[in-house]
């Protein structure tokens, strides 16, 4: 009896072990058509193809309502043929990390949103991305969406790999009430005026800038990059260089010195170590007068869960001193190589739908997101819903100086190095030249 019991227990344990190892393959039989990620499932020819779509644009994310509407619209349009199943990955950093890990294992979901995370280049390095060029060439409307800026973001070596769904025209916002209290009646046109205004705000007991150091120091790097871009031809050329390796340039060092001055004199205590959320909160609560950010923030100015009633009327928008705006379509969605051609086709249909002019116009009307496509129309409805957007777009139209952001051009991984060293710059532990040397060393080693 003991022997039988022992044999039964052993067999049960071994079966449990084997079941544990093999369970995935049994349950993912439907997903075997994908390249191994199990991220998408085709339930057989003639049946609905399921596209598993991991995204961070869910929950409280600004783009969540837009993505939700697009998924609903796509599933309705392609009912019975294709179906998107959203996999929620809250937090963009978590999303980027998840995709990075999936890239390293060679198994990606059929559609990936590149965003500002340099995921396209990483996936391209592993030869995991579908070349969209023939599809774009065959579709005149799609082709018309690609201007120079869009090509720079989404094409490599003349081949189109991604499609943008939103543009990134970025200026800065200021609090008109706080400006008035400091005796400032208009946004500065030159950097000398800008720094003079900072002095006026400080003299009036107002903290001038919302700044940050964490997560790439989004707000801070915007202001600093604008200083580089408007410093002359050399600076503008630097800002338009993809993956620069030499940061030891006079124009960069000088801008970093000014950034250090801003950290030390013009911002809140929590800026050092703080992330974008801290900076935004300081602007919403009127602790600071200026924040550099894109038009997608405009919707928040009327959200009474974030700001006091009437806050939106206090906010002004401006291009950067020297007549500069950031102009860079956000790296778009790309399709990954799948073993099932039908799934690839479904993924291409999804990218086409999500990045169509209609989708971009809907995102504009819903959230004030600036379209990436030059053929998308800016509707009167959007301009009346978001008057600040109209104001900004007219100012941006007059700006001849444009470039991508300082951090978006960095080699992958450098953003984190930059972020980690900014607190030392802010506290004076390292100089601007030291920081530029650190960036150069990293960029050179990453080549």
């Amino acid at each position: 009896m003991k022997k039988i019991l022992a044999a039964f227990l052993s067999a049960t344990m071994l079966l449990g072990l084997l079941a544990g190892c093999g369970g995935g393959s049994a349950s993912s039989g439907a997903a075997s058509s994908s390249s191994g990620s199990g991220a998408a499932a085709s339930s057989g020819s003639g049946k609905e193809i399921v596209i598993n779509y991991p995204t961070f644009q869910v929950g409280v994310n600004t783009s969540a309502p837009v993505i939700s509407a697009l998924v609903e619209g796509f599933n309705e349009k392609y009912a019975g043929q294709y179906k998107i199943v959203v996999e929620e990955v809250p937090g963009d950093a978590n999303y980027a990390e998840k995709i990075q890990v999936m890239i390293s294992t060679g198994s990606l979901p059929p559609v990936v949103y590149g965003g500002g995370y340099k995921l396209l280049d990483l996936a391209l390095a592993q030869d995991l991305v579908v070349d969209l060029t023939p599809y774009v060439e065959a579709d005149p409307e799609w082709k018309a969406q690609y201007n120079d800026a869009s090509m720079a973001a989404n094409a490599r070596d003349g081949k189109i790999y991604a499609s943008s769904m939103e543009g990134s025209l970025v200026g800065y916002f200021y609090n008109k009430d706080l400006f008035a209290q400091a005796g400032i009646d208009a946004a500065p046109k030159t950097w000398d005026e800008f720094f003079a205004d900072c002095d006026k705000l400080i003299a009036a007991g107002i903290t001038p800038m919302a700044m940050d150091t964490a997560d790439g120091a989004w707000c801070s790097q915007l202001m600093m990059g604008a200083m580089i871009a408007t410093s002359g031809d050399e600076g503008l050329a630097f800002m338009n260089t993809k993956y620069p390796t030499d940061y030891n340039q006079d124009v960069v060092v000088k801008a970093v010195e000014k950034l250090q001055w801003l950290y030390q004199n013009c911002t809140t205590l929590d800026a050092v170590g703080g992330a974008y959320e801290n900076a935004a909160n300081n602007f919403y609560t009127e602790n600071v007068a200026i924040i550099a950010n894109g038009p997608w923030m405009i919707g928040d100015f009327s959200d009474t869960t974030l700001v006091e009633e009437g806050f939106n009327e206090k906010v002004g928008v401006a291009a950067y001193p020297g007549g500069f705006v950031y102009d860079e379509p956000i790296e778009g969605m790309f399709v990954t190589k799948q073993s099932d051609p039908a799934l690839e086709e479904a993924a291409i249909a999804m990218v086409r739908y999500f990045t169509s002019d209609e989708a971009q116009e809907m995102a504009l009307n819903m959230q004030g997101m600036v379209p990436a496509s030059p053929t998308a129309e800016i509707s009167d409805e959007a301009l009346s819903t978001f008057p600040l957007l109209g104001d900004f777009l007219s100012q941006a139209a007059e700006c001849e100086l444009r470039s991508p952001t300082f951090t978006s051009n960095m080699v992958p991984g450098l953003e984190s190095e930059w972020s980690n060293n900014l607190p030392n710059l802010a506290t004076g532990n390292i100089s601007a030249a030291d920081l530029c040397q650190i960036l150069s060393n990293f960029a050179a080693s990453a080549q």
Binding site: A6, L9, S10, M13, L14, G16, L17, C21, E97, Q100, I103, S104, D121, L122, A125, Q126, D127, T213, A214, T268, L269, D270, V272, G273, P412, G413, L414, S416, E417, S419, N420, N421, L422, P423, N424, A426, T427, N429, I430, S445, A446
Partner: protein, 291 residues
Amino acid sequence: MKHNKIWIPIFLAPACILFLLVFALPLVLVFVTSLFEYKLMPNTFSFTGLSNYVKLFTQDPNFLPILKNTLVWILIHCTLHVVLGTALAFVLYKKPFGWKVVRTGYMIPNIISQSAIAMIFLNLYNASFGAVNSVLKSIGLEHLCHNWLFDNNTAFPAVTMIWLLFAGYTTTLVLAQLLSVDESIIEAARVDGASSLQIDFMIMFPLVRKMIGTTVIMAAAYMLQLFSMIYITTGGGPGVSTTNLPLYLYTTMKNRYDYGYANAIGVVIIAIGAVCMVAIRKLFRMNEEDY
């Protein structure tokens, strides 16, 4: 009895297979790939021998400060942290009033997730609204206010304080061992005229020596695994002033996509762990019988 021996390997087989698949095989892969230039971008996989190790110890300006941070944290954790927990256990085993409340309460920070603890301290240390600066201001010490986690001078001690004081595991383990000591031994010591202090140091301490050694091993291992608290609070900054080896491994993999180099760091972590274990076992004579 002989015929029963066949069941021993059968029952051990599942655990052994699991160990081989989940731990041994990845461990071997870590060792092997640390000898390769193994990068995600540009996509590279080529044998380079010990070059990752040479680069780590001779060319990487970050490695030695990070190694120092890790070793200092191990030292602090194995000494101050364990002494604190052991001292409290020696107070509690005498069962003073409220000892059970203290025992349970002191354990609470150890059962809260590390991420939650990190978030709590991130807010406590916040330069603008954090409790630490608020208390300093309220007692007239405004000049001592700092951006604790992001000033190079205070970041390391500020991060250390997040876990240094919470020695609940040490207290619980040592206390359990102290409470299991036969009462007659203490009685005999008292009859022989030993003072309370003499009983603690000359009777009880040697009796719980091995358990203290175990807690020191746990403390060292904890420091070699520590990640989320640092990642959430400072992210290893400013610079690398609060980066330890596990975080450096992660950032090397995540930011540089350099898996070979990251695995070389992993091998160094394993080597430090092995040296620590052997040293602690020797120091506490863990293999020797007392009586």
